[in-house]
Assembly symmetry: C2
Homo-oligomer: 261 residues x 2
DNA sequence: GGCTTTGCTTCTACTGAGTGGAAGAAGGAG
DNA sequence: CTCCTTCTTCCACTCAGTAGAAGCAAAGCC
């Protein structure tokens, strides 16, 4: 290339990825100018690259002229292999069927939880999380369940940062949070009470494989129905254990993984 | 760039996309050499581009050294906005809850059906379809439901091609298929009997908005239980109608769609 | 109605980022 | 051990990609 690439040593590939990266849960639809702004690239450059992405259906242009992620990328994303999710889904469904409550599965990604699956029906949808979205760990049930079983150095480092406080009920004092994590470790599950969203409570259990928390299963109810939470703990723990078992079996000994060569 | 780009007039962007496009449902994991082969690009070029994609987590390298779609692309894909799917999911869940059978939602993409959502539990998983996968229209329930409500010219053109025949029960004679489509139109739903997979039957209903079939809801059962299919038709039609209603409401009159500017 | 703002598209001259081939590693198979 | 396959690194050549400016178009605003 020429001219512009000089300043940031960016390759074309990184530019393309920067454009895709400009889209996130808080910015699912962007105008050309916004993309240029968010990526720091020249408008004409973005214009051309976006046109190529659109032609390939990686992006598509909505009725309002804004760009959004296209179906082709969704389709590609479905190819991301995740034995965990595959193995877990039927159990999440089972848990939902037995309780009628929102159920979700999350993994840790950096210092956040990433929601990888969710089962919900018509009622009780307090919109806590979307599949593919991220939230901090300390105010969420799944986050606390995961954090509690991470190595001490990780927890210490997590607690030593300033912690976000999405609601007045969020626990941000390192000492209190540490005590709570100890309790989570002791009882094998975590609970939250309006710590992330006013009006919702949750319980969550880690999926432990070896001594690593590979994921966490969470269940969310309206805070008007906190009293029903305890009843949900047993099924929750049972499902987390079944997922762990199936996962171990799937990862350790799949009958000579088939070569798709 | 230099040298190589001459032959195919390919831009770097198109090369990157070609690499991503090398992955599909039949090739979810590829070696570097395979990617080079499938894209027709020089190994060294693929090597560098793939390294950048891997660094961005668009791709990741499995334990066996093969590349696969990375979680970051999955995450991006989750941003692909689809009001239809959003509106439909609770109803699919409802239908699954009421029947305990595999339920899925598909749209037409070109001459194929693309499965966009699926609800299933522990039992009865004859693995007919995966979310994100494609199948031809004529041997599938959802495909026939969609095809029957497409304009005549489309159907004619569809039937005039040689049609695949995944099982001996697949209907490929244009005349017979056309009569069947007429029946689908008349009764408002389609059925299949081992036309795509031996051992599975299905029923499917289109989601009609205006006079366009925007999607189809399908329900699949083992062929040992064909006799239960008729019982499932009413709930199926009901759900398709509810989805159509909600979709119309969501698309036509969402209270002044919020600008995420 | 005309004037301003905002956002998109097209054009062009310049240049260094990107190319592919070849040679070097690193395993596996026989 | 040697042969084979697959991945990685290096390098000299060059054209694809860059940014900026100017031209459009639509939507608000007074």
């Amino acid at each position: 290339m020429a001219g512009g690439a000089r300043d940031l040593g960016r390759s074309v590939t990184s530019r393309v990825l920067a454009i895709l990266g400009a889209f996130d849960a808080h910015h699912p639809r962007l105008t050309l100018t916004e993309i240029a702004g968010r990526t720091g690239m020249a408008l004409s450059t973005v214009h051309r690259l976006v046109a190529e992405l659109e032609e390939w259906r990686a992006l598509r242009r909505g009725a309002d002229g804004r760009y959004q992620i296209g179906r082709r990328l969704w389709e590609l994303g479905q190819l991301a292999p995740d034995p965990l999710q595959e193995v877990a889904h039927p159990w999440l469904q089972e848990l939902f069927g037995g309780t009628g409550e929102n159920v979700h599965l999350a993994v840790r990604d950096g210092v956040e939880v990433l929601y990888v699956d969710k089962v919900y029906g018509k009622r009780a949808v307090p919109i806590v999380s979307r599949t593919g979205s991220r939230l901090p760990m300390h105010p969420t049930g799944v986050g606390k369940a995961l954090l509690a079983f991470e190595p001490a150095w990780f927890v210490t480092s997590y607690l030593s940062r300033p912690l976000e406080r999405p609601t007045p009920h969020t626990i941000t004092e390192p000492g209190r949070l540490a005590r709570e994590l100890a309790q989570v470790r002791a009882q094998g599950y975590a609970t939250t009470h309006e710590e992330m969203t006013l009006g919702s409570c949750s319980a969550a259990a880690p999926v432990l494989v070896g001594d690593r928390p590979v994921a966490a299963v969470g269940i969310v109810v309206s805070s008007r129905r906190v009293r029903e939470l305890p009843r949900l703990v047993d099924p929750l723990l049972a499902v987390a254990a079944r997922i762990a078992g199936d996962y171990r079996a799937a990862v350790a000994g799949p009958p000579k993984s088939i070569n798709v060569r």
